[in-house]
Amino acid sequence: MEVDSMRLLASALAIGIGSIGPGLAIGMLGKGAMEAIGRNPEAESKIRVSMILAIAFAEAIAIYALVTALIVKFA
């Protein structure tokens, strides 16, 4: 296989496989937060802030995969 086609494949796989975990994690976080809001609607603003923070942590992993993909593709 040529180097260029291997590069394309590697960057696509890096972001594709790397997004599975964070995707699941963000889904679970959203589910948990919504259940919590359903049980206690008054705490919505507090739950929202901590949910966004937790999502940022999960999303960081997807961003690492993205950075790896970009480095494989361009550098």
């Binding site: 507090k46 802030v49 966004i52 923070l53 940022a56 999303e59 960081a60 961003i63 690492y64 993205l66 950075v67 970009l70 480095i71 361009f74 550098a75």
Partner: protein
């Protein structure tokens, strides 16, 4: 084919120091912030004007937000955190303005991959004059370093030797190992702060470029809305995470 650059490109230089397009935009952002602050400051009256009220709404809502995390310590850290938030949000949104990233010099570049001289291809690439500051890793890593050094400084200042005990603890092998992990995760903060912001904003720019390349009319509009939202969330995440880490760094751990 599309030309996407991972880093800022030099458009001028002072001696050996290149001035990249993202650095130029950073100066624009700084000038905008300074002028805005001076403008709002000059319009402060006893009977508040509309401009003053708008400024107060921004500052007060930010203050309340950080007070929820830092409680009574918010007064010390509010200037830093609010500057982080405002600088990052303006930097993120400035990249969405028309003309930024699309006006520039066209430069011809010979592709080096083809070896045979009759196959030499010339590729035209656009070097934009302006580029969103946070779409450059140098800016985001710089912000991450400011955040990291502030964390260490205030941790040491308020807790003294107790703060170091978190990292170097020889009371038992397990605690020593935990300390090592703490050191690694402390340095991991720089990487995750820098790359999270850079990745989100850069990915947004790439997304907008690709969508505009595929469907030039109407299709990019919802994505621009999405990028406005991402820009706000990332500014919030950066300043909130700094606030959370600061509040853990300056509180004494209880067991």
């Amino acid at each position: 084919m599309l030309h996407i650059s991972l880093t800022g490109e030099a458009i001028a230089g002072i001696g050996p120091f290149p001035i990249t397009n993202s650095l130029l935009t950073t100066w624009f952002v700084m000038a905008t912030m300074t002028l805005l602050v001076l403008f709002v400051k000059s319009s402060i009256r006893t009977h508040p004007t509309k401009i003053q009220l708008a400024g107060e709404v921004i500052v007060e809502s930010l203050y309340d937000l950080f007070e929820g995390v830092l409680h009574e310590k918010v007064k010390t850290f509010f200037p830093l955190l609010a500057s982080f938030f405002l600088f990052i949000i303006i930097s993120n949104w400035i990249g969405l303005l028309p003309g930024i990233g699309s006006i520039g010099i066209v430069e011809k570049e010979t592709l080096h991959e083809q070896v045979a001289p009759d196959q030499m291809q010339e590729e035209e690439k656009l070097i934009p004059f302006l580029r969103a500051p946070t779409a450059d890793l140098n800016t985001t890593l710089g912000l991450a370093l400011i955040s990291f050094i502030t964390l260490q400084y205030y941790g040491l200042k308020t807790l003294g030797a107790t703060y170091l005990k978190k990292f170097i603890n020889i009371s038992s092998p397990i605690n020593f190992y935990v300390g090592l992990l703490e050191i690694i995760s402390e340095f991991g903060k720089i990487v995750s702060f820098g790359f999270r912001l850079f990745g989100n904003i850069f990915a947004g720019e790439v997304l907008l470029t690709v969508i505009a390349f595929l469907v030039p009319i109407l299709a990019p509009i919802p994505f621009i809305g999405l990028e406005l939202f991402v820009g706000l969330i990332q500014a919030l995440v950066f300043s909130m995470l700094t606030a959370v880490f600061l509040s853990t760094a300056v509180t004494v751990e209880e067991h």
